[in-house]
Symmetry: C2
Subunit: 266 residues, 2 copies
């Protein structure tokens, strides 16, 4: 048995991880990020918990020490507006930020990870706790695609890998050999909505893992919300690189079937 | 003296080319694309003209033959909705289209160019007629940029080249080492509007030439409309790869100064 600490943002992933860590017989303590969940995760659901604002790194470190955390996991979405607008960094956070090159949450997270590991808190990969949630290859859910759509999935995966290598984003929409939309900072759902207005029926949403991605920090993730955004936009095909994370996979597959959205792993 | 034929879409470029060809002492005849200009270009402004719908390639060929065209130029925007929704191809256009792989106007234009050249009508590059309109390197117009913004221009050019190599689009918006938005089929102005909602003040619009671009068919182009879209979006910096086309360059520079938008060639 070891003690795992989870820094929990918004969405379905943190509760999934709590269940997975407990199911495997370990202690789990949680740092809820303030303002990122209507219902923070608290005992008795977990062994210990605190709620801290983004930027309160000093207090978070004290909590990890007091709990004797042996592995730290980061999971769930963090509002980008916090990084850019509402961040109130404490002394530890300031030390981190002042040594950073410019340019986005990825670099902040990587610096934070390095700092934690230097202080003796190894950072783990959430996906290692959720092997049943990783997209395999082949037909995963919903209707089966035509050869033409499968061709677009291959094309889109190549484009998404190229876009990821440029550190732009993880997701693209393609249609008959054309790139309809590329995700940058607007987020997947806004990009899907735009693509729905621009694309023909057969368009495919493709999510890929950046070649240089740190899998401890940000694995491309889909869930029922992704399917809802696609349905709203009129997009019917989703391709995931193998290894992407599917939140609540059983519910996801049932929803894909209900919404008639075909999902493939590549 | 030779006879130049211009296939004219929407915007300021076709009239600029007419003036340039006439100023250099040549005959110019024009195929106006139907529905693409409130005022088609007609004699006495040019030596001969016809107005044809997109897709009437047979009639266009007859016009080129009758006029003895020795060089054909394509210039001006063509509504993408025409390709996808309203195209009524004649027999010649059908021959062209049925031999095409899927995937967008670039391939259609390339096939059309090949067909014209095979029939003895060489296709020229509009930019060769407009040497004064090509972006040089250095500060071109408006306020001068800080070192930080110049750094983002270099970064953005590298990203835009990568995006172009993937055949996605020509334009990106970057801010402090982050990619804010990437243009795919939505068009530059829509992408600029989105970036304005997502980016901080210092963001830079960057336009680059695709590595594999056919310069006879589609050179990245900016004009006063680009500046107006940037002003509307609150974006203040524009970087162009050297060789991009600036429509009405004197008016463009005056407008950049008036709107306080700094423009650089890289």
């Amino acid at each position: 048995m070891k003690t795992v600490a989870l820094v929990a943002g918004r969405g379905a992933l943190p509760p999934m991880l709590v269940r997975a860590v407990k199911a495997q017989g370990h202690r789990i303590c949680v740092v809820n990020l303030k303002g990122h969940n209507d219902a923070p995760i608290e005992p008795p659901e977990v062994d210990a918990a605190t709620t801290l604002p983004v930027g309160a790194i000093g207090k978070a470190l004290k909590f990890l020490e007091a709990q004797g955390a042996e592995e730290v996991l980061f999971a769930g979405n963090v509002d980008k507006t916090v990084w850019y607008r509402d961040l109130r960094p404490d002394l530890q956070a300031l030390k981190l930020i002042t040594n950073l090159p410019d340019g986005g949450d990825d670099r902040i997270l990587r610096a934070l990870t390095d700092m934690l590991e230097a202080k003796g808190f190894p950072v783990g990969a959430p996906v290692d706790w959720l092997p049943d949630c990783l997209a395999p290859t082949g037909h995963l859910a919903g209707p089966e695609a035509s050869a033409e759509v499968v061709g677009d999935m291959e094309f889109g995966l190549r484009i998404a890998k190229g876009v990821g290598a440029l550190e732009i984003g993880q997701t693209v929409v393609v249609c008959r050999g054309c790139v309809v939309a590329v995700e940058a900072v607007e987020g997947t759902d806004a990009m899907i909505a735009r693509a729905g207005m621009l694309a023909k029926k057969g368009a495919v949403v493709v999510k890929a893992i950046k070649p240089q991605q740190d899998r401890r920090l940000d694995v491309p993730t889909v869930g029922v919300e992704t399917l809802a955004a696609m349905k709203e936009a009129g997009l019917r095909w989703l391709a995931l690189e193998a290894g992407c994370l599917i939140l609540e996979p059983e519910r996801f597959r049932a929803q894909a079937k209900a919404l008639k959205i075909g999902v493939y792993g590549r």
